[in-house]
Amino acid sequence: MISIRIIRLANDLAQEGMLILHAMFGELAFITFGWSFVELMEPTKTRIIRAKWATLAGFLGTVLSWIVGGYYYVAVYPKARNLIRGGPWPWGHLIIMEAKEHLFLIGPFLAALLLFIVWWKGQELMVDNDSRHASLVLSAILAIGAVMMLLMGAIIGISERVALG
């Protein structure tokens, strides 16, 4: 029956699609925080305007990745967790996922701080080296953190796959 297939497809997308969205928002965060870092290295009026939008996109990416990933983690992941824990790579959950789910909680607050500094200071970032330094440090932490989350997510995915045999 075509209707049942459509319902199954929608159900699959609603569950596993969440994981894709989680990763996509994380990738958005990585790109935009890396972008804001580059823009703020030698800031001009135009570069600061671009950095503002980059930090806003990065903040939204981080928060949306948190919400979508959180839904997936609570509602869908438990099945995979049991599979991974019983598989050949149990550390995929016991070390990597446990660390990832908790370290992720820091990201949105760092992103909020970067957003606040860049939007609040605005054009002053051209002359206020202290705030520019802080923005660069935060952009770097967030870009590196996003890559780390993506890498950890990939390891968790592989842990599930090897558990399936």
């Binding site: 948190w66 550390w91 070390i95 200071k121 002359v127 802080a134």
Partner: protein, 111 residues
């Protein structure tokens, strides 16, 4: 905004948000390790918020907002160096990351 003449702000409005980020980062560490070492805390988080991880997230948001509001009147009085402060935050984030990964590695290797 006159950017060329306003090198230093009169007040550090970003300082309370920075302090809140620092305290929230440390709170995440305490909640993470605390819930693993003290099961009643994990059980309380799960019972109160539906899931221990959701509870940690909600408490983190509350801490962030409360610390920002409470530190606002104190930390905005004088200009502060955001450069040295952000270096400290960077060090704390690295340390918290190392402790959390190290803790779960230890738990796995020495159950």
């Amino acid at each position: 905004m006159n950017s060329m003449t306003s090198v230093k702000p009169e007040k550090s409005y970003e300082a309370p948000v920075g302090a809140a980020t620092l305290v929230t980062t440390l709170a995440v560490l305490v909640m993470t390790i605390g819930a693993e070492l003290y099961p009643p805390l994990k059980a309380w988080l799960a019972a109160t918020f539906g899931h221990h991880w959701v509870g940690k997230g909600v408490i983190s948001i509350v801490i962030f907002v409360v610390v920002t509001a409470l530190s606002y009147p104190i930390l905005t009085k004088t200009p502060r160096s955001m450069a040295s402060w952000s270096n400290r935050l960077f060090a704390v984030v690295i340390l918290v990351t190392a402790i959390i990964i190290g803790f779960f590695m230890y738990e796995f290797l020495f159950p």
